[in-house]
């Protein structure tokens, strides 16, 4: 069944059609939420809230890309979830030592794949990227996630976050620059090209 037909039926109150739309887009929605929230449970909560919110707002859908419209609701749900987290801050399991120094998080040490070394390497890169993503300001994180992780174009991102396209471009440039600077701290985990760059950087600095 075509997406347009599913949307029409969902707007008319067909719950099955709505759920089929959810199944089509839930993976991208959850992944965007996960990259923004950097936490699986929070991402699942945000995605579920977004689905409920989407069901309530179905009659306000005015055409265009359904995926972009859904992602807009997801990012709003993430904003709400992040606001809630700020209001009720949780204590991380091992954020820092008694001296206030950051320690490696259990997730960082976790051997998720327990497979061949190359797979382990991919996981480490992923964790490094996620670590740097989490360190970005919320507005930069959302833009770089939508463009580089989810693959949305600038116009779609502008619609999703409700800002002019120029703002998207400038935020993306700054986000990438910050990511680049952050990833230099993980040079031994990164592909050769990153390692090469950071070594050059160190030579120049010395």
């Amino acid at each position: 069944m075509e997406e347009t037909e599913l949307i029409t039926r969902a707007v008319d109150g067909d719950l099955d059609a709505f759920n089929r739309l959810v199944l089509q887009h839930q993976e991208v929605a959850y992944n965007v939420a996960y990259r923004i929230m950097a936490d699986e449970n929070a991402a699942a909560d945000a995605t579920q809230d977004a689905v409920i919110s989407m069901y309530r707002k179905l009659d306000t859908y005015r055409g265009g890309s359904f995926k972009s419209w859904f992602l807009r609701i997801v990012t709003n749900a993430c904003y709400d979830e992040l606001r809630r987290q700020r209001r009720r801050p949780t204590i991380p399991i091992e954020p820092e030592t008694n001296e206030g120094e950051l320690v490696e998080s259990p997730e960082w040490l976790e051997d998720k794949s327990a497979g061949p070394e190359d797979v382990l390497g991919t996981s480490e890169i992923e964790n490094a990227i996620q670590h740097c993503l989490s360190g970005l300001d919320q507005k930069f994180r959302i833009v770089i996630t939508l463009v580089d992780v989810s693959g949305e174009d600038y116009e779609a991102v502008a619609r999703i976050i409700g800002t002019p396209i120029g703002t998207v471009k400038s935020r993306l440039a700054r986000a990438r620059l910050k990511m680049q600077q952050c990833l230099q701290g993980f040079r031994e985990l990164l592909p050769d090209q990153f390692r090469h760059i950071t070594e050059e950087h160190d030579e120049l600095a010395s």
Binding site: L15, F18, N19, V22, L23, Q26, E27, A29, Y30, N31, Y34, R35, E40, A43, A44, T47, Q48, V51, I52, S53, Y55, R56, T122, I125, E126, I129, Q130, I144, V147, D148, V149, G151, D153, Y154, K169, S170, L172, A173, R174, R176, L177, M179, Q180, Q181, L183, L190, P191, Q193, F194, I197, E200, H201, L204, A205
Partner: protein, 295 residues
């Protein structure tokens, strides 16, 4: 190569657009020329390409569970859909009603005529607001009235008794000494509509008192003759103060004036209604806020 310090923010934005293939053909050609001339830009482009590739290669996380809605969840979501705006609008309507009530009371209090023809005290004091009438009456009632015996009888005329701001009383007892002709238009102030102002008649025994009804009947003729009213002449009490007391009529005037003031101060809408409305507005608003936060 440390290109980060060398490249401006504008160049960084252009580089990202080049990387994401969003530049126009003309701008793209121009940027490629600059790329060939600038090793920093070339290096930055390589780094950004690697970063983008790494970001795109992040594995897709499998969903922990399906996010579809069950029938009950959908119904609950729909219910919440109606409750939130309902309480929101109820709160707004209550607030508007409250504002209208206070606004109308403010307008009536500040811009309405203070007296009405149906209120006798207000009629007697056409140029004064009820508050000033009350003040004047209170001042006068707090001062004792001295009723004196005069040494001679008749021919002295007489002043208004007390000049109490109650002109009817003043004029009625101001007629003294000799026969006096009163034109009806001059005597209109003695009309019997204000019997309360004629209460000083009792101690005036010697000359006889013109009853309000008599005055009224006399006024029906063109020219009337009024028997002289001789006040305060008692042979056995010459030179003595007969009585010092607040005049009863003034006390009643004070009471009447107070009633007028109180009736004017009484709000159009009872205070209880205002409290109920304020309470409803607050309660609805609170429920709306709780529902909003819960969502």
């Amino acid at each position: 190569m440390n290109w980060q310090a060398e490249i401006s923010e504008k160049d960084m934005t252009l580089l990202c657009e080049y990387l994401d293939d969003t530049l126009s053909i003309k701008d793209r050609a121009k940027f490629e020329t600059r790329l060939q001339q600038s090793p920093e830009l070339t290096q930055a482009l390589e780094d950004m390409t690697a970063l983008k590739r790494s970001m795109r290669s992040l594995p897709c996380k499998p969903v922990p569970h399906h996010f579809t809605l069950t029938r009950s969840e959908a119904e609950k979501a729909r219910r919440g859909l109606f409750m939130l705006p309902t309480f929101g609008w109820a709160s707004v309507v209550s607030m508007i009603l409250l504002a209208v009530i206070f606004g109308s009371e403010f307008i009536f209090t500040n811009f309405s005529v203070p007296q009405t023809p149906a209120e006798p005290v207000a009629m007697m004091l056409p140029d004064a607001a009820p508050e000033s009438a009350l003040r004047q009456a209170e001042e006068e009632s707090s001062q004792p009235v001295y009723l004196l015996n005069w040494a001679s009888v008749g021919g002295k005329g007489g002043g208004g008794a007390g000049g109490s701001g109650l002109p009817v009383g003043g004029m009625a007892y101001g007629m003294g000494g000799g026969l006096t002709e009163i034109a009806p238009e001059d005597a209109v102030v003695a009309e019997p509509e204000q019997p309360a102002e004629l209460t000083l008649t009792e101690p005036m025994q010697t000359g006889g008192v013109v009853e309000p009804t008599e005055v009224a009947s006399m006024l029906s003729e063109d020219k009337i003759t009024v028997e002289p009213l001789i006040f305060g002449v008692r042979e056995d009490q010459l030179g003595q103060v007969i009585t010092i007391e607040p005049v009863q009529s003034e006390i009643s005037a004070v009471v009447a004036a107070q009633e007028v003031v109180e009736s004017e101060k009484e709000p159009i809408i009872p205070t209880n209604v205002k409290w109920i409305l304020a309470g409803l507005a607050a309660a609805f608003g609170l429920i709306w806020l709780l529902l909003k936060l819960k969502r």
